[in-house]
Symmetry: C2
Subunit: 277 residues, 2 copies
């Protein structure tokens, strides 16, 4: 009995890339995959039924992340992007070590990018409570630049504000000011948006920071890292076909399609609800 090389690079190359997030914020990463890697197909899973992850325990987020990965493995993916910072901080080492799969998270690439562009190595990080408490950004940055100083702030109200659609609301500005003032006072020279929801607030954050420092969001560096991993493993899509996109969600309440389209930057087609049994 031969398994006939079913995991050979040649066989793998035509398979889709799996991406998961607690909700639809990870579609900001999918958008970037479609821009940088238009030939690749994507299967996305958004765990809307159990979102948000960022206020839950590490053990719980790890368990959700494993379930999401198993779901995507059944879709025969060739690589996995953990497009959720809370999951990346709770589950990246586990998924990378225990699954026979190319895995990219969103924290390592953002940390690398921030270290590369930071002038004075005073790096600010804003993220959910789970991500901040995990210390994952701190570790990822220190590994690349032991002298860097990291200043972080958990911003638990940003996700609900984005979900509520208050992107240009004066109250949102006040809340941004509240969370970012301590970082501005620390004279950070680079700011990492450590949650895939936050890019929708990027322009408001830039305006309120006033100091013109670079703002790093994970999407671009993550997809660059994905691209080089696919290349290294020789599993990039071999021809010029237009990649497809299939989106699975564990629930779909009324507002979420509208929010999802804002993240993805295109209409949400090909959407399927998979409920827990």
């Amino acid at each position: 009995l031969r398994s006939s090389g079913s995991n050979s690079a040649k066989t793998l190359s035509r398979r889709p890339i799996g991406v998961f997030d607690s909700g639809l914020g990870g579609l900001t990463v999918v958008r970037e995959i479609r821009r940088q890697l238009p030939h690749e197909s994507v299967v996305y899973f958004g765990d809307i039924a159990r979102l948000p992850y960022g206020i839950k325990s590490k053990q719980q987020i790890l368990s959700f992340s494993i379930q999401n990965t198993l779901f995507l493995l059944k879709k025969k993916i060739k690589a996995l992007v953990i497009a959720c910072n809370s999951s990346s901080s709770a589950a990246f080492p586990f998924l990378k070590n225990h699954f026979n799969l190319a895995v990219v998270d969103v924290i390592q690439p953002a940390a690398e990018e921030a270290v590369k562009i930071s002038n004075g190595s005073r790096i600010g990080v804003i993220a959910t409570q789970a991500t901040i408490q995990s210390g994952s950004y701190e570790k990822a940055i220190k590994k690349r630049n032991p002298k860097a100083r990291i200043f972080s702030s958990a911003c638990p109200l940003f996700v609900p504000l984005v979900e509520e659609g208050w992107l240009n609301h004066p109250i949102t500005d006040e809340i941004i000011e509240h969370y970012l003032q301590p970082l501005r006072k620390q004279r950070i020279d680079t700011l990492i948006l450590g949650c895939t929801h936050y890019p929708l607030l990027k322009e408001r954050i830039r305006k309120i920071m006033k100091n013109g420092i670079p703002i790093v969001d994970s999407a671009q560096p993550t997809v660059r890292q994905l691209a080089s991993l696919l290349e290294k493993k020789a599993i990039s899509y071999p021809s010029n076909h237009k990649g497809s996109l299939k989106i699975f969600v564990s629930d779909l309440p009324r507002n979420f399609k509208r929010i999802g389209e804002r993240f993805l930057g295109e209409k949400l087609h090909n959407l399927e609800i998979v409920r827990e049994k």
Copy 2:
């Protein structure tokens, strides 16, 4: 083979009351059970792993609610309180019709109370998106007073604000003002707090409404209704013993114990985490 009347009133009476909520907000109802019915024991389930319910679909909330009820049935409860407005609106008829169990929700009692005390039958309701969209309060009020007019406002940021602990924050006041101004303009004469998180904002809401109208929260009328149901079925606890309280949660992140104690008004002892397998 006889089942020996294991569900007789006498056997049932010593069993605990089951209470569930998406999180710990339902502890405001437990607090009231312990005040009004100190002899009764309570088993509580807070589905923290999957909270919040109020932004999810009706079908999803129904499915979570059934799972929670099955969990509590294994704890041999004699009656069930759905201490969550989103679950009450999505699951009360189903649970009442399909389980052989005394079931109380939080919407019917609050609606009844509001109809009783409203002077001019202009009743305001604030709640989560799921509860407002369900129209459950509207139906429950109209059933009792067909002439009543109902004005409702979904307040999706209130739960995250309470979870964040911003109970007396100026930004919270602004958000309260934002959501309640339309109701004040409609000259409502009674306001229902249609979410078990909102009682923690009651005093701020009262102050911002300015008009001194009565504010109804579900806890008191719900427990009054529970008491009369137990009496009617002759399953009230038969003696003067001090009721116990056992709390199960599906996750327990760092902050939640503190928030839970604020809802319950006493220390959280006897807490157990039950994770999804």
